[in-house]
């Protein structure tokens, strides 16, 4: 019954979305307030209906109702409840339903929180959002119906892949979807602006919270995914430049660029056309990412649906959405007013260079991901692969100028500044960072100079963030608590986010230069070294689990005078026959100790267990930095100045208050 209710709700949602796609657009063209208001009601209704459908699916998963094919294929009686529920989106059809749900919820959000928007703009945004909904609802209903029944219903299901039976599955996909589906809102903003023929500072100011609303969860989702890969897939890998990872990283890079270019448009009215283009491209890359992951066009460890037929449908949707938007851009954007002027050394120029480098970085990831596909078409005889060696070689050097700029940017004045003035402000951080670089290079050895540089770069970024706060908190009369208390949330956001990049950079630098690894066969009582670690195998025994049998080995790890026990397991899942290794990780601010066992093997001294020992210095900083960035974004989002009511205009002259950052 629930499956049928869910299915029906979905069909109704499609009809509502179809109406929402057409009527408000007509209303905006004719100035008909009733039709425009219909857009808001329809958005709410659509969200409610899809929520019902999704809830039905989740309940079916929770109840382990195997008469529904999807549940039977991705869940089993022995599977713990949290993973029965999370399995709702641990498959293609369910995750498409999640996609559609987030899309509708964002649409409802525009209706609910967008009352300060120009009515025609809001109506057009809702209509564009609904068009995207129609496409995805149609895709879900006609090619990926999650509610298909299975008859006769099996007594037990095929369980979810054990790699996915993990807390990560509960949070990672929903966060990612909140992220890159969230960029649908900025896409709709951009298309609506093109239709209206205006992208003025007010438009940019209205759009900025939505950019943040998508950017923050995407940052969290990517950070969580990296963390999950680290302890799930093991031995220190936290980023593999896999096509699916890249599919989430490209919208993030463009989203970051969009965030910064929107500031220029909002503050100075410049770069409006560019901001629109970025908004279109960011969501287009989200769509292309969805295509990539589900069409089978590229091989990936992550690919969870490989179906070229579905790929055709998604490609058609991409051509429709992006093609129309870019066509509209070609037609309308040239006519839009170009904005204010700014000096070669100014905040605007800094942000423009920021965008330029981010585009180049996006190009690296994009070319690397899609080149094999392009080559297949152009020269099938010369099939190539693009893997981590390419990305590491090209991405890292290109990112250095950007990271250096991050600290300089906030010190630049709007419109016009002088090199000397900026230089004075940055003198102390620059000396400190250079000193750190020199010191580390000498102390750790010149062969580690690259890592030392990375650590110094991290320090440069963290100091820069401190400088922003320092300038705010030390007024004419010295340090003042009042100044601290009245710091705009957006300023705190900037400082947190930029510091976060520094922390992540430091973590990456430490991991690439100073990680240690030892792989060997061990027997109880033996000790092995890996970098600063001395690991002794204490014992091993067989242990049963809820849906698996395991061999568990215990270790004592000594480092710098302290000792810690770690445990590693090798599990055999009884239903599927899959085997996994659970690593023991000892976490500290300085880094992680990591021990994982393998199978029984013999070496020169007899039989034992394969043991892999790793030392991962500062690895936690990589994700902590991501968390700081997300917190920074959230802080900016909470800034009061974004939640302006009807724009206050004294007379026609003064623009509404615009935040400094």
């Amino acid at each position: 019954m629930l499956a049928e209710i869910g299915h029906f709700a979905l069909i109704l949602a499609l009809l509502v979305a179809a109406a929402q796609a057409v009527l408000p657009m007509l209303g905006a063209a004719r100035g008909d307030a009733a039709l425009m208001a219909f857009g808001r009601s329809a958005a709410g209704l659509q969200a409610a209906l899809i929520t019902i459908a999704f809830a039905c699916l989740m309940i079916l998963f929770g109840q382990a109702d195997f008469s529904v094919a999807l549940v039977a294929n991705h869940s089993a009686l022995s599977q713990p409840l949290p993973y029965r529920l999370a399995a709702t989106w641990g498959n293609h059809e369910g995750s498409m339903l999640l996609w559609v749900l987030v899309l509708a919820l964002y649409g409802a959000g525009i209706a609910r929180f967008g009352d300060n928007l120009r009515a025609t703009l809001q109506a057009r945004i809702l209509a564009v959002q609904a068009m995207i909904s129609v496409a995805f609802l149609a895709f879900a209903l006609f090619t990926s119906n999650p509610f298909a029944r299975l008859s006769p219903a099996p007594l037990d299901g095929a369980e979810l892949n054990p790699l996915l039976q993990d807390p990560g599955l509960v949070f990672h996909p929903p966060l990612l979807y909140l992220g890159y589906v969230g960029f649908s809102v900025t896409f709709s903003f951009a298309v609506a602006a093109l239709m209206e023929g205006r992208a003025d500072p007010a438009w940019a100011r209205w759009m900025r919270p939505w950019v943040l609303a998508a950017w923050v969860p995407l940052t969290c989702g990517i950070t969580l995914g990296s963390f999950w890969a680290y302890y799930e897939l093991g031995w220190g890998g936290w980023w593999f430049w896999d096509p699916v990872e890249n599919a989430s990283f490209m919208p993030w890079l463009l989203g970051t660029a969009l965030l910064h270019s929107a500031i220029v448009t909002e503050k100075r009215g410049a770069l409006a056309g560019w901001t629109i283009l970025l908004a279109i491209l960011a969501f287009s890359l989200s769509l292309i990412g969805t295509f990539l992951v589900r069409s089978g066009i590229l091989t990936s460890v992550h690919a969870f649906a490989v179906d070229p037929e579905r790929g055709v449908f998604i490609l058609a949707m991409i051509i429709g959405a992006t093609g129309t938007a870019l066509g509209l851009f070609a037609l309308r954007a040239p006519q839009m007013k170009s904005g204010a002027l700014f000096g070669s050394i100014s905040r605007e120029s800094g942000l423009t260079i920021n965008n330029l480098i981010l585009m180049a970085l996006t190009a690296v990831v994009f070319l690397g991901t899609f080149y094999p596909v392009i080559m297949e078409a152009v020269n099938p005889a010369n099939k190539i692969s693009v893997g981590p060696p390419y990305y590491n070689l090209v991405f890292a050097p290109l990112s250095v100028p950007l990271l250096l700029l991050v600290t300089v940017g906030p010190m630049l004045a709007w419109k016009r500044d002088e090199a000397a003035s900026v230089g004075r402000k940055l003198l102390i951080p620059a000396m400190l960072a250079l000193g750190l670089f020199a010191g580390l290079s000498l102390w750790l050895g010149l062969d580690k100079a690259a890592s030392a540089f990375g650590l110094a770069l991290g320090a440069w970024l963290i100091l820069g963030a401190g400088l922003v706060l320092g300038k705010r908190w030390w007024g004419a009369g010295g340090f003042s608590w009042r100044l601290v208390r009245t710091t705009p949330a957006a300023t705190v956001g900037l400082a947190l986010a930029h510091a976060g990049i520094g922390v992540t950079t430091a973590g990456i630098a430490a991991m690439s230069g100073f990680a240690a690894e030892t792989i060997l066969v061990m027997r109880p009582g033996e000790t092995a070294q890996a970098g600063p670690l001395a690991v002794t195998m204490v014992g091993a025994e067989e242990v049963p689990g809820p849906n698996y049998r395991a061999l568990r080995a215990r270790f004592a790890v000594q480092q710098g005078g302290g000792e810690r026990s770690l445990v590693s397991e090798r599990r055999l899942y009884t239903v599927s026959g899959n085997q996994t290794t659970e690593a023991g990780i000892g976490v500290s601010i300085a880094g992680n100790q990591y021990v994982a066992i393998g199978d029984v093997q013999s070496d020169g001294r007899g039989q034992g267990l394969v043991v892999r020992i790793y030392w991962h210095p500062l690895v936690g900083w990589i994700w902590f930095g991501g968390l700081l960035m997300a917190m920074g974004g959230a802080a900016s989002l909470s800034d009061r100045r974004f939640r302006i009511g009807a724009p206050q205009v004294r007379t026609g002259l003064a623009p509404a208050l615009v935040p400094a950052e």
């Binding site: 993990d166 093991g234 330029l356 180049a360 690296v364 099939k383 994982a596 002259l653």
Partner: protein
């Protein structure tokens, strides 16, 4: 430092391991070379992994092959060429720099340069910053203050 240490001991999952002790060469320098080369070779039967990371049987065969070649005294380039001769450029995770891949290697820098050139041209067409017009007269300033409100 001990006070700061979080004694969190996590249990986390990872699949079967890749390089095994019984494959490893005795000479650490050679083994280091073998690991480096392995990281650059794709496991052709896997979903986008290097032979160093993959536990597929063919990956193991190739790891052993790489070590055998190194032990025979072949250079890194010769070992790579040996594998490419059999599987093509597909097996290299760092694509070769050749005519076909020019766009791949040069593309990002081209974006940077073209974008920078575009910016420079755009700024040439538009004066760098409008030189300030003649300063406001007192009457104009008073009018401005009336309209926009007093400056903070």
């Amino acid at each position: 430092m001990r006070r700061l240490v979080l004694a969190l001991t996590l249990l986390a999952a990872s699949p079967a391991a890749a390089v095994l002790p019984d494959e490893m060469l005795k000479d650490p320098a050679q083994e280091h070379r073998a690991r480096a080369i392995s990281k650059d070779l794709r496991c052709v039967v896997c979903q986008n992994q290097s032979i160093d990371d993959s536990d597929a049987p063919l990956a193991r065969d190739l790891r052993l092959l790489v070590r055998e070649q190194i032990a025979q005294g072949k250079s890194d380039a010769e070992v790579r060429d040996y594998v490419v001769e059999r599987y093509g450029n597909f097996v290299l995770l760092k694509p070769p720099v050749e005519g076909d891949t020019l766009l791949l290697w040069a593309g990002p820098f081209a974006v940077l340069l073209l974008g920078a050139a575009g910016l420079v041209l755009w700024r040439r067409k538009v004066p760098a910053a409008t030189p300030d017009a003649a300063p406001l007269t007192d009457a104009e300033r008073a009018e401005l203050d009336r309209l926009a409100g007093p400056r903070n």
